[in-house]
């Protein structure tokens, strides 16, 4: 044994010698502890119970979420949109009336295009107003000799009778059309300030006033869900 080992053993003995338990008291305590009912740590019991509760609660919540009916939508808000179907009307066969409104710019394959909205009429039926949307290259004026976007531009639809409460005409953007998918444009009388649109799923799109056209009409543009056009509208 080295000197260090000897000193270590002495040190440990000395340190241990300071502990002098009272054996009689310790035996009494030992007997008391032996009579103690076997106890488990609270966590041993509580932890599995808590885990089971968490799982059950999660399952319950998940079940409720699945079973829950979709959030209550206002029952058929607004009025059903029954607008005239838009059709392609060559621009040089049209008479435009009043101001035109710029709706939006969008990219084509090589150029940027600008969508316009205007009110017009066919020369042989000047009292039958049409709401039209046309797309021309950005920077081009809305004239008969300006190139039109694709084969569908312009798109025109007859206006409904103006009772001051309804949407008069509209066009929902489409691929190859003068307005890109995800956009829709509506014509309202000049007394209306707000337009709210709802698709078949009840999802709301807020129309934004773009401009006035032909003196007595207002054009509203809205972002809509592509493939899910508005079917109802509230105007106020």
């Amino acid at each position: 044994m080295t000197d260090l080992e000897r000193k270590l053993a002495e040190t440990l003995r000395e340190q241990a010698g300071k502990v002098t338990p009272n054996l009689d008291a310790a035996w009494a305590e030992q007997q008391r502890r032996q009579r103690r009912p076997p106890r488990r740590r609270l966590t041993v019991l509580v932890a599995p119970l808590a885990a089971v509760l968490v799982v059950l609660t999660s399952v319950l919540l998940a079940t409720r979420v699945n079973d829950a009916s979709p959030p209550a939508q206002p029952a058929n808000p607004g009025q059903e949109l029954k607008l005239a179907k838009s059709e392609h009307q060559p621009f040089d066969h049209m008479l435009t009336q009043g101001d035109k409104a710029i709706l939006t710019d969008f990219p084509g394959q090589t150029d940027m295009w600008r969508a316009w909205a205007y009110v017009g009429a066919q020369p042989n039926a000047s009292d039958r107003k049409l709401f039209c949307v046309a797309a021309l290259p950005v920077g081009a004026d809305l004239t008969a000799d300006a190139p039109q976007y694709g084969t569908k531009s312009p798109q025109c639809a007859a206006l409904l009778p103006d009772d001051g409460k309804t949407v008069l005409a509209g066009y929902v953007g489409e691929t190859g059309g003068p307005l890109p998918p995800g956009k829709a444009v509506y014509l309202l009388s000049s007394t209306m300030e707000h337009l709210r649109l709802y698709n078949a799923q009840g999802e709301l799109s807020q129309g934004k006033l773009v401009d006035r056209v032909a003196s007595s009409y207002q054009v509203f543009l809205a972002d809509v869900v592509p493939g899910s056009p508005p079917v109802r509208a509230e105007v106020s």
Partner: protein, 172 residues
């Protein structure tokens, strides 16, 4: 209470065992750093009592007690480390004027250095130099291989020398 281990005529009763080993187990827990050494020893005996009827070889009872005390002391010191955020159990004793005298000074130094060793190194040294256990006995108590015991002992002694060399007035 005080019953013999079943099927082992002449075996010590529980009470005999308690009186013979309670102090030793309390000291062992104390040397391993448990701040409630007596409680550790008491609980070790309670565990032994719970298994008393299943023990057939009383010669292994003391080894079982030692292992239980080592494990419980380990849990306790780990808990203390978390609670106190100190690496070891207790600060070294204050060095009184008497302790500074000659041999006691060395013992105080050694106690302080022991507190700086790793848990396993300290366990190995206590079991070897206080309980005089063999390498096999230490291995059995700690649940490690004899080779690990030897290596740990070697490293522990190296650390002791190193730390004592670092201490002012320590071993040169």
């Amino acid at each position: 209470m005080g019953e013999s281990a079943p099927g082992d005529l002449g075996a010590p009763t529980f009470h005999d065992l308690f009186r013979e080993y309670f102090a030793q187990m309390t000291r062992l827990a104390h040397l391993l750093g448990a701040d409630d050494a007596e409680n550790v020893a008491q609980e070790a005996f309670v565990k032994l009592h719970q298994r008393w009827d299943t023990l057939s070889d009383h010669t292994r009872v003391v080894g079982y007690l030692r292992t239980t005390v080592v494990n419980m002391s380990r849990s306790r010191t780990r808990h203390l480390r978390v609670v106190r955020r100190t690496p070891q159990d207790r600060p070294p004793d204050e060095l009184s004027a008497e302790v500074r005298a000659v041999a006691n000074w060395e013992h105080a130094q050694l106690r302080a250095v022991l507190g700086k060793l790793s848990r396993r190194q300290r366990e190995v040294l206590v079991l070897r130099y206080w309980l005089d256990l063999s390498t096999a006995g230490i291995a059995d108590t700690l649940g490690i291989s004899p080779g690990t015991v030897k290596a740990t002992t070697h490293h522990a002694m190296e650390n002791l020398r190193k730390h004592l060399g670092d201490e002012p007035g320590g071993e040169r």
